[in-house]
Amino acid sequence: MRRFEYHAPNSLEEVSGLLTSLGDGAFILAGGTDLLVEIRERLRTVKHLVDIKKVPGLSGITCSAAQGLRFGAMTTAGELAAHPGLAQLYPNLYDALCALASIQVRNRATVIGNICRASPSADTIPPLVADGASIETWHPDGARIIPLAEFFTGPGRSVLRAGEIATAITVPPPQPGSYRAYIKHGRRKAMELATVGVAVSLDTKDGICTAARIALGAVGPVVLRAPQAEALLVGTRLDPKTVTSAAQQAMLECTPISNVRSSADYRREMVGVLTRRAVQQVLEVAA
């Protein structure tokens, strides 16, 4: 492995100070499952790793129907998936977590690391965006709470400033009559990046859809919402015809590229298929 200096500070102040003073070659080490690969494959020049595991207050999960979900920067994907209540309250996030890499990787990889990596194909982002999650950050100039949908600025890029640290994610409590699903499409089930990932979260009252949020992964520079497709669902009884036209609209709203995993056309086609399936999955649970 390429050589770098390892730092293990004890507070957010120190982490931030190190990141600022060490400059461009310094990166936060949380789970390390992405960063260590990038170092070995020479995709990123790393001179310093700033491990945040010794910083107090970055672990812990709270999950309840009344308070919603909150987890810290050190929460691993495996820990979150196994947390009591998560699978029932947020089945979309649960499915995304279980689809991420392998058990071994999930036991190290942090969810916030997966998010901060800001890959358009990151599995955990679409369900969190569809559920209106926010990300909490810390900087010596002040803490921020940023809606996750506004966090990403491009592939690998976010609104995080130099020396700013993502500390926690919060997700609002699931409303009665709300349902959610995430469907990942890849060439194989494990150890795979999503070719397309679609999250759908719907609120309903007396069988009528009152709000819809569709988040599309791996079909744009960032995880995208599909506002026009969402608008087609709201106010309807989610009958098959409506769902089909919303799925077709979602295809028009995404901006996929072709790469080694798939062509742009195939991705667009799959956005239609998966959006329809995700709504169907939601309706089956609701029934």
Partner: protein, 170 residues
């Protein structure tokens, strides 16, 4: 480069050695601790050959820095047997079923299977598949591995090496 003294409990034995900050736990186990049973297949978290149990959880030893494991309890393939003459049911079953060919994936698969069977000794095929989804074998086609894991699980349930009928999330 500065070295850190690393104190670990490996297979029940306290070990300490000096490591540089950029070394992986896998390299430290193989080169400093002399435990070469844990294999390096890909070194990027894809193959599972380097699987060890760290504080009760299976991880890829190539995907963690040695210094991050400070103070941890680690089980490697060398810790599978209770004593040199006493094969673990998984080792016995892998031999009986011919579930190892070149053997490179075997240490990682045995460790992963041990973790799976201890909480779920009678797994379904789907559960074995899910449990082993981070372990790649280029030789066997997996069929004999599955057969061996089922056989070992039954014996572990009978001999009380696993908790029958309790299921724990991975």
């Amino acid at each position: 480069m500065t070295k850190t003294v690393l104190d670990l409990v490996v297979n029940g034995e306290s070990r300490s050695f000096a490591v540089e900050g950029h070394r992986s736990l896998l390299d430290a186990l193989r080169e400093e601790a002399g435990l070469t049973g844990t294999k390096k297949g890909c070194d990027v978290g894809d193959c599972g050959a380097c699987t060890v149990i760290l504080d009760g959880k299976p991880i890829n030893a190539c995907m963690i820095l040695a210094v991050e494991a400070q103070g941890a309890q680690i089980t490697t393939i060398e810790g599978l047997q209770a004593s040199p003459d006493d094969l673990h049911p998984l080792q016995q079953a892998f031999m009986e079923h011919g579930a190892s060919q070149c053997g490179f994936c075997t240490p990682g698969i045995l460790i992963m299977a041990k973790h799976l069977l201890e909480s779920n000794p009678l797994p379904t095929d789907e559960e074995i598949r899910f449990g082993l989804s981070g372990n790649i074998c280029r030789c066997t086609g997996y069929t004999k591995i599955f057969d061996a894991i089922r056989t070992a699980g039954k014996r572990m349930a009978e001999t009380g090496m696993a908790l029958p009928a309790t299921k724990v999330e991975a």
